[in-house]
Symmetry: D2
Subunit: 396 residues, 4 copies
């Protein structure tokens, strides 16, 4: 019988029943007003989740990678300079994408486990007296290391430097799960995907775009058609789409946002924090630590657990999959083997997290790691039972 | 957001994804050959699951209670005597049903927690020299107390008494999850429901009927139409149904049996035993015991956990539901408050069981019961990791 | 590829997408308040659909046949007399059920195609000066002949006779599709099923029960347990159910009633009438007539089409199924071969009906019946286009 | 109640029940072997549907437009020349995309309604003695005009010209519904989408790529990351994906191909032809003609119907949607108003097509067009009943 345990990869996440049903819809005519009736609430909802005060939302039948590509190709020209810190696999990949698109990336190499280096960013911007840096790229939540960077801090660094670059933020594994403040942080483009905080299948890149970034389209010379914002926006204005949209995912997105708002965005973030904290207490009980360099950097959506000397995180992930039918994330790139990752975002309950911790422990014992069965579970239980909302079912 | 934790009631069980999809079908014409193509495999599959060598399968759009009523109303007449032991809520209810249908029930009162009393049954049958006992009623798995009775033993008692009564078995919470041997045990009617070992929604009573029980229809005078076996069998013979069948559930039943047989019935039973044993080890680690009087009686589908003096099992069930969104079973009837019940049947994995145990522990701690967090989980983990099949995912 | 044409059997009906999704739900604890939250709106909604002013609703995991059995077994005793007219297969079956349950049925034999004979009923009641008739049984819509009887007329006949019998109405194929007035007609028990006007899968018997019928439970001696109203009502009062309910169907029922009420019950009835009238115009264009004896009797949920001399309606049904993948209803009982039936109830659109008519015409041509292709379709088109609501999609 | 009529837009198509269920799956770990087990059959199946003898299949979480962009960006460099005929909206859009990506498009302007002009293509290639044309772009089925071009003829023209350009084919609205011969026609890149012949939701671009096109990647300088073939192929080789794949759609694709192959690809094409021919006979009965210039060009997946003088096709489409809840396609670009389009591809039955024709007729009558109700339906009925497979349900 197919195994139906929850997944603990850092996305795609476990999906609520009702979100799956919202996505699974019969064919409609995407050129009809019926489509507009589905699409508009999705767009409006994204604006609220991102906390946008102005600007536009673009929804592409694509993924986070496509969202990155859309961000740069709509606003930049070959040879343009962008500033980015590299401190994990996903910040690396965005940099790589920029380079492949002919951009000049000024890279601030930063140890993995650290977050965006605010001082170095400020310094680099101050040094750019000619204003050649067109955009600062920031990975809000580095999924590879479980590190959340301080985007508000980057904005302050940019302001302190008096630099007019745009601020592009990869919020793929943060938006919808951790606080995001498009307006407050002065973000110019935020990139999200459907399969993380929005708890949908993969298949949508979701972007918030500021008026400044929209204006940049006029001069941007990188080629784009599939990702073209202008085609999108002019179609949206007519209630349409420039090509065939992923209708079911859009319907699901509108519904997912309803769920998030019914729970309350602040409550959603608090739930993620609470569940993440339980995981971290389990990690501590195991005698291990998150890979993130300091508690201020701890991500509420994914914990990369540093494994003991002589242990290999990938072994745990493989054993969990083959012996217990449960999915965790392996370490990627330079932390391959050194960590395993526990995703704790999207639709998730205390009980589900505890099942993940219990399976991780069994794997550790199987692999001879120095961990006492039940120890991490007990630490998480203690946290969860002490912090559970009075009536978890009230929102049902 | 609606809570989607696994359930730990002793049925309805957690349902496999593919079973739900098999049930959820568009309308077909139930008078067409299309229906026969769905129905025949379901009937044939039930025969294999029950281990029937001869006789017929009857599938009614009803529940286990309806199955009980069908069993007696098709084979008995008002004033007929049946022999039954009462040792739990479900054996009690069947007796009550018989009495309400005008049968004379010779009741062997047996302490709750015990199983069917073989010696007393043999004695009662031996004492019935006039052969007035037409049927022996046996509850294979008493869901209220977590007790599995020895049906083969009842057959041996009947044979030892040289008594010709029919043997009717309530296998609602055993069939499909624990070994059942219709032919070997000489069962005359076995009653199952869709919502337990078959992992379907409630809505089907599923009966295996021996040639002897079928012959009893000819003289049985209890009224019946909806439950009438003769109408059923004559319709089945034409590939039809005497009224509108529950088509989706029948399609789901056929599929569910495919899943069980793909896994292997023996493997299914072994899985239930292994998961149940983990639960029992957790119970022991909590310093508690199953309510069942002895290990030989322990059910592999449900454990009624005796709660410590001064504790109330119903409190735990209510707290689990309201605080953690997880469903356990309360104690029923004379064990109300004295036990809580953990269902461990149907679609279930190590990870799911561990999440149930972890939540139970949190509730115990919340209620001030003398239990150490993680202790039961650790005991179950130790059992599961030591007994896990090499490749749990191989069957996927 | 499996054929997914609409069905034109007179139930089960085509199901709305959202009804199927409401039914297809994960397992919940039916002993928890969650169940009560699903159940209460279903019960309240049924009361509104039936137009009940007082009394109770009983929902059984069963079918219409079970509903008939529940009606008589909860209110009558062996040997009691009931009055019923027989004018089709379903009125026949209810009579047969009563006889099998030991009731004395005073049968008014009425030609098939006619409706309930008001004068004869009144006469029979007047003749019953001793008041031995305990109940009048009436089939509101005789699905076999496509005849709708005048239930209000029966009530008037009963009142004219000054007879105190209860009035039991089989509304299986009328309720939810044609006007029903439980209070106005003085109905004592109304029987519906899930799979007709409620557009759900088969699996629920749905009954409205008057205070008078409830009072009759006290003295009724027919045996019942599965169908027992008293068990049901006492469980309902506690937010529970006496055994495992068909939770998904109950959730679906609540949702289905929402759909009906969103459209407006009067609009639903008008839609059924309009679609039925189109079918009747097609029948006329084919040179045929409905089997119902007069227009006042025409059912708005099913038309039994009298086939020309020398033609066999069953041939058409079989050809439609095997050659075109479309399901119609055969003639049953004494009209076997003489009619074929077009169900036009439940979720249905102009376009769907037209596809059914078009396929029926192809079959007629294939079978050499004297019908011009497109003729019936054209007649229905003319009716539909002239009567279509201004904005059919407005309710979407 | 939401309207659930079939759609007659030329894609997305009506989806089989089982395809929707295959797509609607719980989250799995896309980095696990479970994903590879889903992905490989999809890739292998696409090769068979395209009739590829060698080369690779690329599946992108995108749409046909993305597929076009992937085709050119992976194989060409800015300033490269491609040859394309423009004879409809979709050929126009591909040309526009190339221009926006800095390619030099040698455009053969061709009247809308015509197909790819073989002689002009041959002449252009012969004239290109310097070999600057790197690729010939061909739209196999121009969805805007209902025209199928002769791709084999283009290959012959290329061979006759002795020109070494690559041949890129837009098969979005043909593949899976009409014969396609990647190997036989010497196609270098074929572009398909999930939402047409594969009967899935929109969300996948599906490409067949020849070894020659793969080799062209090495020198192609157009920027790409999301669409990069090299990243894809190297990930595929490890059973993975370069970013998060659209897992459900991929599972659905594998299943859809199973359905197509169970029916038999030739039978699928024959079914499309037969259904299309019925539509064309209806069009003729209405006194209208397809917009395609000659019968050899008639598409079997979509018919653009030329409306009578003084009539506006868009009116019909809007009326069908608002009054009858049915979706047809409007005329696009220079044929706006002059045609309306009937899509007849994907999951479709005789009955469904007839319902579409019947609704179109009602709209025509409503709009005062000179058409007799039932006339087109009758013409299609005559065709369908004469050509129906003996047992349409056999494959069920």
């Amino acid at each position: 019988m197919s195994v139906q345990n929850p997944v603990f990869i850092p996305g795609p996440t476990n999906m609520p029943e009702s979100v799956r049903k919202a996505c699974d819809m019969p064919t409609i005519d995407h050129r009809s007003p019926t489509f507009a009736r589905l699409f508009k609430p999705a767009v409006a909802g994204v604006k609220r989740v991102l906390k946008m005060a102005e600007g536009e939302v673009i929804i592409l039948p694509s993924t986070g990678t496509g969202g990155w590509e859309a961000a740069v190709s709509n606003t930049l020209s070959p040879g343009d300079t962008v500033l980015a810190a590299r401190f994990g696999m996903f910040s690396h990949r965005w940099i790589d994408l920029c380079q492949r698109h002919g951009l000049n990336v000024e890279i601030i190499e930063t140890p993995w486990g650290e977050g965006a280096p605010l001082a170095a960013i400020e310094a680099a911007l101050k040094a750019d007296t000619s204003g050649k840096i067109k955009a600062v790229l920031a990975t809000h939540n580095e999924t590879a290391t479980g590190v959340r960077s301080d985007i508000g801090g980057i904005r302050r660094a940019m302001d302190a430097a008096g630099h007019g670059a745009m601020l592009f933020v990869d919020g793929v594994s943060s938006i919808g799960s951790m606080p995001f403040d498009f307006a407050g942080w002065g973000v110019d483009i935020a990139v999200a995907g459907s399969q993380k905080g929005f708890m949908l299948p993969a298949g949508l890149a979701i972007l918030g775009v500021s008026p400044k970034a929209i204006a940049a389209m006029e001069t941007a010379k990188l080629p784009r058609t599939f990702f073209d914002f202008k085609d999108m926006l002019s179609s949206y204005a007519r209630g349409g789409y420039p090509y065939t949209p992923a209708v079911g995912l859009i319907a699901g997105l509108a519904h997912s946002i309803e769920l998030l708002e019914d729970e309350g965005l602040e409550a959603v973030y608090a739930r993620h924090h609470r569940l993440a904290e339980g995981v971290r207490r389990a990690v501590a009980a195991w005698g291990m630590t998150p890979f993130a360099a300091s508690p201020a950097l701890y991500s509420d959506t994914v914990t990369a657990v540093k494994v003991p000397e002589g242990c290999n995180g990938t072994d745990l992930v493989q054993l969990a999959a083959t012996k217990y039918g449960m999915a965790f994330g392996v370490g990627l790139g330079e932390v391959a083997g050194k960590v395993f990752r526990i995703g704790h975002l999207g639709m998730l309950t205390d009980a589900m997290v505890l099942s993940g911790l219990a399976v991780a422990e069994m794997c550790m014992a199987d692999l001879g790691w120095p961990v006492k069965l039940g120890s991490g579970v007990a630490a998480a239980q203690e946290h969860y039972r002490g912090t559970a909302p009075a009536m978890a079912l009230a929102a049902e």
